[in-house]
């Protein structure tokens, strides 16, 4: 268009303009008109748009079927509970001790040096953007059409938030998981979140009780293989675990037990755990605790606290829990940060500690030995990551019955808990009976301590709950690590650095040794 306007205007001028006119219009236009035409065709909006429409990834999908997302969420959850969360909480609860050179993370955790940057991945990638984002996607997709999936996802979500609250206290809940539309969600109080978890569990149960579901979970549900009864049982039993944390636990638990149709864990088959697979079957699907032991050799040992507790009672489970040293003795690693000793530069090479064993790593194909240093690779890696066991439920009952004043019934529950735990570890019946004969009687004034100490041993390898029990009851009596950067045992994790940087609503966390969860009294 410019050309024409210009031409009209220019032609009014003197004759030498003819030259220019000629130059531009005759010569160029004649010769390039056909190219220009091609050019325009190519550039025309429609063809260009189509040609450029290649921005859909061939490597991923925009929507995913429910079963695929459910497996992902469950395995991620099981993995998380055997990963960072397990290491933070089990070192603080002194089920494990970090050793090794200065700077090795597990050793620093043991010295109570848990930094805001240490928890970035756990909080962000593993839980909120991992398990929870997937569960939320399932709930959104399944609600209304596939209630069985929605129900399982809600129960898993309730369990996950219960763990997160126990780890971090106040958290984003009501404004959380809204996607990129709400990038700075507000934080809710820990007790308010707990209150909604009971409701969420009831909703989950209701979903599972629906008459039909478009899609029905099966083997994609790697925890209960589509057994909706077991999910309902978990939901009710989980409510008992949550209720245990309240001062008015007896009333709350009475109410839960009285719910119509309520069922509770009744056998080890009800255990809420994520199965992993043996290397010999398929590599790359092993229990993450086992994987850590292989990859981070000499950093994560059974703690002297749990080993000594079991040694004093000659606990038969030790054979499955720990590798023996010098024949049949079991030695736990001290929870000793020893910052003043020159031995901090000395890896624990000349001290022989028991390592985690079959119970945590799966069947062993070799003889149980404890090397001076280095790792043992003869395990299958197929041990499950245990998150909430039938044995634990028996100890919850014992504590409830004791609080209710029914000490005799409490003792029965205690013994049932010990039995379930020992059976889980494959202890032969005779040894179980012998142990119960010696340790199965509740003694006046030490009832709670006995219950929690037995629960502590039974929950060996279960993330978070032993630490929560200690925070709730002060049992077992843990001695803070020597020379830690905190003088007392931390009672909460720091908020992640990245979350603080990205969300101004993140509260301050001046101290990780302060009581920070509503039930931590």
């Amino acid at each position: 268009m410019h050309f024409h306007k210009f031409a009209t205007w220019a032609s009014c001028y003197a004759s030498h303009i003819n030259f220019l006119y000629h130059l531009i219009f005759v010569t160029i236009m004649q010769k390039i008109i056909k190219y220009t035409f091609l050019f325009i065709v190519l550039m025309s909006f429609t063809s260009c748009k189509k040609w450029l429409d290649v921005n859909q990834s061939p490597n991923a999908v925009l929507t995913a079927p429910l079963p695929q997302v459910l497996t992902s969420a469950q395995v991620q959850l099981g993995f998380n509970m055997g990963s960072d969360v397990a290491r933070f909480s089990s070192i603080l609860a002194q089920q494990f001790a970090g050793q090794g050179q200065a700077g090795v993370q597990t050793r620093e955790y043991m010295g109570y040096l848990i930094q805001p940057t240490d928890v970035n991945n756990t909080f962000r990638g593993q839980f909120y953007a991992g398990v929870l984002a997937d569960l939320e996607a399932i709930i959104k997709d399944a609600e209304g059409t596939s209630p069985y999936y929605a129900g399982i996802a809600k129960i898993l979500k309730a369990y996950t938030f219960h763990i997160l609250v126990d780890l971090w206290g106040d958290l984003p809940y009501t404004e959380a998981l809204k996607g990129a539309t709400l990038t700075q969600p507000k934080y809710d109080k820990s007790d308010a979140i707990y209150a909604t978890l009971f409701i969420l569990l009831d909703e989950g149960i209701a979903n599972l009780n629906a008459p039909s579901s478009k899609f029905i979970p099966g083997n994609d549900d790697v925890i209960y293989l589509g057994n909706r009864g077991r999910w309902r049982t978990l939901a009710y039993t989980l409510q008992m675990r949550l209720a245990l944390r309240y001062p008015d636990k007896v009333a709350r638990m009475d109410a839960i037990l009285a719910k119509a149709g309520a069922t509770f864990m009744s056998a080890n088959a009800d255990n809420f755990q994520c199965a992993f697979q043996a290397t010999s079957l398929i590599a790359g699907r092993e229990n993450p605790i086992h994987q850590f032991e292989i990859r981070r050799v000499d950093q994560y040992f059974p703690s002297a606290t749990v080993v000594n507790l079991m040694n004093t009672k000659s606990d038969p489970r030790r054979r499955w829990y720990f590798t023996p040293t010098a024949g049949t003795t079991f030695i736990g690693a001290p929870n000793d940060y020893a910052a003043t000793s020159s031995t901090i530069f000395n890896p624990p090479s000349n001290v022989v500690f028991s390592r985690m064993h079959i119970f945590m790593r799966g069947d062993s194909t070799g003889t149980a030995t404890t090397p001076a240093r280095g790792r043992v690779d003869t395990y299958s890696g197929s041990a499950p990551v245990r998150m909430f066991t039938f044995a634990e439920y028996q100890f919850i009952r014992a504590e409830y019955l004791f609080a209710k004043g029914q000490t005799a019934n409490a003792q029965i529950a205690l013994q049932a808990g010990i039995t379930a735990s020992m059976q889980m570890a494959n202890v032969p019946p005779a040894s179980i009976a012998a142990y119960i004969a010696t340790n199965g009687t509740l003694n006046a004034t030490t009832e709670l301590r006995q219950i929690i100490e037995e629960k502590y041993v039974a929950n060996y390898g279960v993330a978070v709950e032993p630490w929560s029990d200690w925070r709730r009851t002060n049992f077992p009596a843990l001695v803070p690590t020597t020379n830690g950067v905190q003088t007392s045992i931390p009672r909460i994790l720091p908020y992640p650095q990245q979350e603080r940087d990205s969300n101004p609503n993140t509260p301050a966390r001046p101290s990780i040794t302060a009581k920070s969860v509503f039930w931590d009294l």
């Binding site: 050019f39 450029l52 990638g125 083997n219």
Partner: protein, 1041 residues
């Protein structure tokens, strides 16, 4: 609007009456010296617009007015302008004399367009073949080190095939690539790769390594967006144009170049040799440390294998892990042609053996090119290259399979070569004393090799519509396949390539990459009047990039050493594909006034497939100008002091595209993992597993822009004996595309968006001088000096930090208000006055929070090349200077912590850490008056070095990487012509050459600081158990026929 201005200008130009043709004059233009016919020479009738250009035979035909006495003005780049008065004759032949002051002043700019240097308002530096080839570097990027102002080359290590990063004018984007676009003969090629994983795998190549340096005729470095704007969205980091050798009309030419070089570690740590393996003065066969008993205190000790051996120092135990490397390069080329066409063929072979076992590169390159004048108006040229590069690579990074992970601080009483690497009976690995892989075992058993087969091809067609209007179409492609074979030996404790817990892995990877570019250009070139001439180009680009990756990973190796995936118990195949497309249209108009004032305007519009349809189209312009004041001002002409001078400047903007597939949110294959190595591979229990991505896609995503301003001057003095080129630039990138961290409580850890601002500015200085120039002797000095500051102005709203690379500590980061890529790490508690706070035992206390501990960016860099020539001899050496820029060195920390380093050797002295007394948790203790109490506790050597350089204490691992090094040196001798005159050879040159010959790094002990853990990436300044740099020396031979 722009068009109107342009044509108004045109009107002004055409201010003289038209000539009326009355007779024809024809002739031939030749080079006065060689007699070579010169095509493209402009022949004008003085003071008119009548003129033509000579054809490929140097012939012209021009209609001139009847009366004689008119003057023909004959001008050509590189030659003196000649005026010929026409008599009555019909044939006028002109022989042009070269103009020394103009020589090599024509350089290749964007889209391969040759322009007079003095006309450019942008910065382009051209390197000639000799600048690149005499150093015999395998990786063409390395031959740019310290040669060009504004260009920084950063090697990753000295292993054969390792990558080098190249940064032109600092950083222009946050997390996308800051590497320039590589263009070979007008077609963009892939220089990807070169990044190294932190905890697995080998040292990778950047793919420019496939290019045969002997094929290069010249390289143009287009600095900054203004120079590269015509290349559009891919050239935000500048561009490097490589022009390969073409045939020339004349006799058949054969050139041979051969060289042989040896390579050695250029710097070893210095060690103490008084104390052996142990801890606290006692033997400990399980430790890596050398805090054991003094040598001589006991005759023997029981080693980690339980055998008694002599307790003695092995001063050269580290050297025993290395061997001498070598490089043999042979390259031959044939070229020739006649007046209708030319051809060139070349073949090269390069066999390079590294300084460690199983590190090797074998490269074969073939290239054939030709040009043909099909009609007087239509010519075609084509070129096809084939590269075959085979490499064996060494494991690197923060992992036990890196042979030097524990190697650098081997206890002083251990000779690695004394122990069998595997059990002779069972074949199982013999683990090292700490239950870890023996470094020599990992070299022999964790194998990685790759083979690249790659074609570069292009065809270019030229049609001269008229003598001032040319249509050119160019189509080119870079297609390559890379096959990677990996074998992680069963029993490996290190991660090796696949991190499979020691069960062994076999990896078979096949990658394909395809880059296709098509250019249609219409070029207008005409002298509009005596005073004005114009050059204009309109064009269109179509670009497609495609990548396909396939991997079959078998884990669980059954028969050791048998590397076929059928030999694995578990198979995990994975694949991914990516494709992006782009269309660009552009225009480039240059007006020159009397050949001393130049104005250049470009504009480009891109449509990229990586944006949502409504965000696809974006336009960006540039304006540049150059003014040669010595030619404009009469008083300055023929001046004895100042020979020539000009000023230049530009303002430009360039757009950048988003990564593919960032406009949507996807469900990806599930793969739970933590930062410690454990991970779960899907399918799991029969389910494929899909997890919602952690990064939220964003359909609102638009292009990112880098704007730049630049001003410079170029002055020549004393008959061009001294020249100074001084420039200042500033760039500002906005709307930068990045994955911004958001509260993960939203369900996503990151959101892809446009955010933030990054500013760079810099000063570039180039001085060339010829202090001595005699008949038989000359001395040339070239100095380049660069100072660049790249500052992250802002990230996204509410975001102050984005991790760039590294670990939790140390880590490189983008931090608002800080230089690009600052280093963060663990620190010690300090009193408010800066003094260390020591715990009750006198040890420093590690602070929980990581802080900024360093800046990897140099304060300035410089290169000084001296060239001395005497008759046939030429001695050239390049000194490379880097001032400032920090590096975190894990090796130095390890050497000190472990008691292996020389400085830890005095075990009798005690150390008092300067600082104040504090609590175990780092609180300051005060005296009664409230004042801090100076620390008076003495530590022994082990306590001191062990705590000050404790594992992971980033603060004490940071060093100023300043260096002065003799980067290159070559002495060549051209045999006198009379010696070879009896042969049919035209030239024989012999030479000795070397790279990285001397190093002075005053603030970095033990290592060469030119290493980078993450290779060719934006994350710079991390050294994590790096493999060493090397020194190369050798000789070369060139024969020309």
């Amino acid at each position: 609007m722009k068009q109107k201005i342009l044509y108004t200008l045109l009107l002004w130009c055409v201010s003289f009456g038209l000539a009326y043709a009355q007779r024809t004059v024809s002739g031939t233009v030749t080079d006065a010296t060689t007699g070579e016919k010169l095509p493209g020479v402009s022949v004008f009738l003085k003071e008119t617009t009548t003129g033509v250009a000579t054809d490929t035979d140097g012939k012209f035909q021009l209609q001139v007015p009847n009366p004689t006495g008119d003057i023909l003005v004959v001008s050509f780049i590189g030659y003196k302008v000649q005026e010929v008065t026409i008599g009555a004759e019909a044939q006028v032949d002109v022989a042009l004399v070269t103009d020394a002051s103009q020589l090599s002043e024509v350089i290749v700019t964007a889209l391969g367009i040759e322009k007079e240097k003095k006309s450019l308002g942008i910065s382009v530096t051209e390197l000639k073949a000799a600048d690149i080839q005499n150093v015999r570097a395998t990786n063409v990027v390395n031959s740019l080190s310290a040669k060009v102002a504004g260009v920084r080359v950063q090697g990753s290590n000295g292993m054969v095939g390792s990558s080098s990063a190249i940064f032109i004018r600092g950083f222009t984007t946050f997390t996308g690539t800051n590497q320039p676009l590589f263009v070979v003969d007008g077609i963009p090629i892939d220089n990807g790769g070169g990044g190294n994983a932190l905890q697995t795998g080998v040292s990778n190549s950047n793919r420019a390594i496939d290019i045969n340096p002997d094929d290069i005729e010249s390289m143009s470095i287009l600095k900054g967006p203004a120079a590269a704007v015509l290349y559009g969205s891919r050239a935000g980091g500048g561009a490097i144009l490589i022009t390969t050798k073409k045939g020339k009309a004349g006799k058949l030419k054969i050139d041979y170049t051969g060289s042989y070089q040896v390579a050695d570690v250029n710097r070893y740590p210095t060690y103490q040799n008084g104390y052996g393996q142990g801890v606290s003065g006692a033997n400990n066969v399980g430790t890596n440390f050398s805090w054991g008993p003094a040598f001589g205190s006991q005759p023997t000790f029981a080693n980690f294998m339980g055998q008694q051996e002599l307790y003695q120092a092995y001063p050269d135990n580290i050297r025993g892990l290395f061997k001498q490397g070598s490089s043999l390069q042979n390259s031959i080329s044939l070229s020739g042609g006649n007046d209708k066409g030319t051809f060139a063929f070349s073949y090269s072979n390069n066999i390079e053996n590294g300084i460690m076992t199983n590190n090797r590169l074998n490269r074969n390159t073939f290239k054939i090119s030709g040009t043909q004048q099909l009609t007087s108006k239509f010519s075609i040229s084509t070129s096809v290259s084939y590269f075959n590069t085979f490499s064996k690579r060494t494991q690197q990074g923060n992992q036990l399979s890196n042979p030097m992970f524990r190697g650098w601080f081997l206890p002083r009483s251990i000779n690695a070569n004394n122990y069998p690497t595997s059990n002779p009976t069972t074949g199982a690995p013999n683990y090292w004393f700490g239950g870890e892989d023996n470094p020599l075992w990992t070299l022999e058993n964790n194998l990685y090799n790759d083979e690249v087969n790659r074609f570069l091809g292009n065809v270019s067609m030229n049609y001269d519509i008229t003598d001032w209007l040319t249509l050119n179409y160019k189509l080119g492609t870079d297609y390559g396949t890379t096959t990677i074979n990996t074998y992680d030996a069963p029993g490996a404790r290190g991660a090796a390539s696949h991190n499979v817990l020691g069960v062994g892995a076999i990896g078979k990877r096949a990658n394909q990459s395809l880059l296709t570019s098509s250019y249609l250009n219409l070029t207008f070139k005409k002298k509009l009047s005596e005073n004005f001439s114009m050059y204009a180009l309109v064009g269109q680009e179509i670009n497609v990039e495609r990548g396909i990756n396939r991997l079959v990973l078998g884990s669980g190796v059954v028969i050791p050493g048998f590397s076929n995936v059928s030999n694995a118990t578990t198979l995990n195949p994975t694949n991914s594909e990516i494709e992006t497309r782009l269309i660009g249209v552009y225009a480039d108009v240059q007006l020159s006034f009397r050949n001393y004032a130049f104005l250049n305007v470009t504009t480009r519009n891109d449509w990229s497939s990586t944006f949502a349809p409504d965000k696809r189209s974006y336009l960006y312009p540039s304006v540049s100008g150059s003014f040669v004041f010595t030619e404009a001002i009469d008083a300055l002409k023929e001046n004895n002091i100042i020979s020539s001078g000009r000023i230049r400047g530009n303002i430009a903007k360039v757009g950048r595209v988003a990564p593919a597939y960032s406009t949507d949110t996807y469900f990806f294959g599930a793969n739970p993992s933590d930062g410690f190595g454990p991970s779960i591979t899907f399918p799991f229990n029969g389910s494929a597993g899909r997890t919602l991505g952690d990064v939220a896609g964003n359909p609102q995503l638009g292009p990112e822009f880098t704007a730049t301003r630049e001003i410079g001057t170029e002055l020549k003095f004393l008959k061009n004996r001294i020249s100074v080129d001084l420039g200042y630039f500033s760039t500002k990138s906005t709307n930068i595309i990045l994955d911004v961290p958001i509260a993960a409580a939203s369900g996503f850890t990151n959101l892809t968006r446009n955010a933030g601002e990054l500013k760079s500015n810099g000063i570039e200085l180039l001085i060339n001088a010829t202090p001595i120039k005699k008949e038989n002797f000359s001395w040339d000095i070239s100095l380049n000096w660069t100072r660049i500051r790249s500052i992250v102005q802002s990230l996204a709203p509410g975001v102050t930090i984005i991790p760039l690379g590294g670990f939790t500590s140390p880590q490189t980061r983008l931090e608002a208000g800080a230089p690009y890529g600052v280093i963060y790490g663990t620190t010690f508690f300090r009193h408010t006055d800066g003094r260390l706070i020591l715990n009750p035992s006198g040890f420093p206390v590690v602070n929980g929070e990581i802080k900024r501990i360093g800046d990897p960016n140099p304060d300035w860099t410089a290169g000084i090349t001296n060239t001395l020539t005497h008759k046939g001899f030429s001695l050239s050496f390049l000194i490379d200077i880097r001032k400032g820029g920090d590096i975190v060195s894990r090796n130095i920390g390890d050497l000190r912590r472990s008691g292996a380093a020389e400085e830890t050797g005095d075990r009798t002295r005690t150390y008092n850490v300067a600082g104040v007394k504090g609590s175990a948790t780092g609180a300051v203790l005060t005296d009664a008056g409230g004042n801090p109490i100076p620390n008076d506790i003495q530590l022994n050597s082990e306590q001191f070095w062990g705590s000050m350089f404790a594992f992971g204490t980033g603060e004490s691992y940071i060093f100023d990487a300043s260096w002065v090094r003799l980067r290159e040196a070559s002495l060549t001798y051209n045999l006198p012509k009379r010696w070879i005159s009896k042969t049919k050879l035209s030239n024989i040159q012999i030479g000795v050459t070397g790279r990285n010959l001397l190093l002075w790094a005053p603030n970095v002990p033990h290592i060469d600081p030119e290493v980078n853990a993450q290779g060719s990436s934006n994350s710079q300044g991390l050294e994590f158990n790096a493999l060493p740099q090397v020194r190369n020396m050798g000789f070369m031979l060139r024969i020309s026929y």
